[in-house]
């Protein structure tokens, strides 16, 4: 059963009607192929029109869509010989952060990401993509491993943010994130990060301080959730759509602010309508970004990455 977002209601109604007509036909009723075709065209143009002008808040909902391809979907489709690694060597393995080794277009790479899960069971297992200190320490370990063996790093980021918990704080959530950012910046290997859904604040940048940063067309990247921002600045979480607008959190905004390098177009109606095509497009863009970096030595990569971040935001005006 397809999950429709609130603003997709007219679409849902149309598709419901199409489904109903088709069932009538299947049951041996009158042939309504022509009518179905007409409605299909109508649904397509409605979809195109809706997605051509999504508001920042609607994009936030799309970015969080439960059917959107998740980190592990990208890894399974794009990475051969996928070999997950586990643990921070100190406390636990955090399944909110996925990491391991594999091959991307034949080349050995290290892969990292935050995984939200795609059904109730896996969502609980991955803690809805909200990592604890162990997760960021695992990320740092894998980044350092990649550095030691000259493996390029790919990351796929999709998280509402770091997990806000008592134990997480007691074990040094802030320090774990800081060290993970540091590891990203220090890695002497090419590093391409992709925001595939939600790029939630410190929990996202911990895996995304990379040479090239990609964002999917309908993904978001923000310092705070629109709801959180609204409840602080407007004292009303219901103002989230207004906050989403003000935060400039869409891929287009981030590109305009020169904070990300590439926006990857999504299939019509969002990645959730054609995950395969979305994943293939990401694979292509990741390779396009990675390939030129492969010629650079570690010191050059590190120096340029630093320069990139030091320059960030200096001349940004929307």
């Amino acid at each position: 059963m397809r999950h429709f977002l609130d603003f997709e209601k007219p679409l849902a109604e149309l598709e419901g009607k199409i489904e109903e007509l088709r069932r009538t036909t299947d049951a041996g009723g009158i042939d309504v192929a022509e009518e179905v075709g007409r409605l299909r065209d109508k649904a397509q143009s409605l979809l195109r029109a809706t997605y051509a002008r999504l508001s920042p808040w609607q994009k936030t909902l799309v970015a969080r869509h439960p059917d959107r391809p998740k980190c592990l979907d990208y890894i399974r489709a794009l990475i051969e010989d996928w070999t997950p690694l586990a643990g921070d060597r100190a406390f636990a393995d955090d399944a909110a952060v996925v990491g391991g080794l594999g091959r991307f277009r034949g080349r050995a790479v290290a892969v990292l990401g935050t995984e939200k899960g795609s059904d109730t069971e896996s969502r609980v297992l991955h803690n809805f993509g909200m990592a604890r200190p162990e997760g960021y320490r695992k990320a740092r370990r894998i980044i350092e491993l990649a550095g030691r063996f000259g493996l390029p790093i790919l990351s796929f980021v999709d998280t509402a943010g770091a997990f806000p918990g008592i134990e997480a704080e007691a074990r040094g959530q802030a320090e774990a994130i800081a060290r993970s950012i540091e590891a990203c910046l220090e890695a002497p290997v090419p590093f391409v990060a992709t925001i595939i859904g939600e790029g939630g604040s410190g929990g996202a940048i911990a895996l995304a301080a990379a040479d090239r940063i990609l964002m999917l067309e309908h993904s978001i990247y923000s310092v705070i959730s629109p709801e959180g921002c609204a409840s602080i600045l407007w004292r009303d979480a219901a103002q989230a759509p207004t906050a989403a607008e003000a935060l400039k959190l869409t891929a287009e905004d981030l590109r305009r602010l020169n904070l990300v390098d590439t926006v990857v177009p999504e299939p019509m109606g969002g990645a959730q309508r054609d995950p395969e095509a979305a994943i293939a497009a990401v694979g292509q863009q990741v390779w396009a970004c990675l390939e030129p970096l492969l010629a650079l030595d570690g010191a050059t990569l590190r120096a340029r990455r630093r320069e990139k971040f030091l320059e960030m935001g200096r001349n940004s005006v929307v």
Binding site: A170, A174, L185, S222, V223, A246, L259, R314
Partner: protein, 313 residues
């Protein structure tokens, strides 16, 4: 109006307090124990309550006075883009920023100074919490990068006093990017072989904690300071548990291995001076140390040459 009324008088007023402010400013109420403290006693005690030891929040310039020897110098900071998003909530961010600047007499939430701590040269950056909650946007990031560059240039340790609610939301993802930017600043100082010391003051939370503020060679905090990543209310709502006693306080962090020490404000200057003295052994001096009387165990390796700090000239 001549210059005396325009410039000199307001300045004198701020130093001694206008006559109308005297009655309410003579006595301060401690927010912790609620006892009244005479203002001169409070100043003498560096804004630590003489009754209960509560460390009150202090401004960036007070910090400099408490930490650095007299005649410290404030550094002019490069201008960061103001209001890059043209952000507006119930008010325009641009207006809020201008108000804060006028009130604080500084461009943004961090002041950078250089000087000496009991004779040891140092660069100090201090957060002004009263400036938009010490929140970190491009201006704060720029200040910390500048402080790091200055420390390297002057071959001085960098000490940062933090007090911040976290990222400056009104700068959106640009404020988020200050996390990696300030982490780079810490790398510059460390790569130059210089100590980077963080002193966490009340409160330090969010993106500030999760970037440069947790990467000190040494991590110090003031007693009772609230330090954490997530806000207490968010945690409570998420885990639906009562937070433990003293949660996210300096002493709690010390107990959990996140800090080196909790140091009272009155002992901060001497502690910093001692630590800098210990970390910055001049090379010549260490080479000329007298041979130990007792024979050292032969297995003990000599410290690697490359790891020694550069000589102080």
């Amino acid at each position: 109006m001549n210059w005396i009324s325009e410039w000199a008088l307001p300045k004198i007023k701020t130093l001694f307090g206008g006559p109308r402010e005297v009655p309410e400013n003579l006595w301060h109420k401690c927010p912790a124990c609620e006892q009244m403290i005479f203002h001169r006693d409070l100043e003498r005690a560096l804004h630590v309550c003489p009754h209960c030891g509560h460390h009150m929040r202090v401004g960036a310039r007070q910090r400099m006075d408490y930490t650095l020897d007299p005649n410290w110098q404030r550094i002019e900071l490069p201008k960061a883009p103001a209001d890059p998003l043209r952000f507006r909530d119930q008010r325009r961010y641009g207006e809020r920023l201008r108000d804060a600047q006028a009130k604080a007499g500084q461009e943004d939430a961090v002041v950078v100074a250089h000087g000496a701590i009991e004779g040891h040269r140092a660069v100090v950056a201090a957060f002004e919490f009263s400036f938009m909650g010490g929140s970190m946007g491009a201006g704060v990031g720029e200040a910390l990068v500048t402080a790091a560059r200055l420390a390297v240039l002057q071959d001085s340790p960098l000490i940062v006093f933090t007090a911040s609610g976290g990222a400056r939301m009104q700068e959106g993802a640009i404020s988020l990017m200050q996390m990696p930017r300030t982490v780079i600043a810490t790398r510059m100082v460390k790569e130059a072989g210089l100590p980077f010391i963080v002193v966490l003051a009340d409160p330090t939370t969010g993106g500030v904690t999760a970037s440069f503020a947790m990467l000190g060679d040494l991590q110090i905090a003031e007693p009772g300071a609230l330090i954490g990543f997530a806000g207490a209310r968010v945690i409570e709502q998420t885990v639906r548990e009562k937070l433990p006693e003293g949660f996210q306080r300096a002493e709690y962090l010390l107990e959990h291995g996140i800090l080196d020490m909790v140091v009272k404000r009155g002992e901060m200057r001497a502690t910093l001076a001692r630590l800098i003295g210990l970390l910055r052994v001049p090379q010549r001096e260490s080479e000329s140390l007298p041979e130990p009387e007792v024979e050292a165990p032969p297995a003990l390796p000599a410290p690697a040459e490359a790891e020694k700090p550069a000589p102080v000239t």
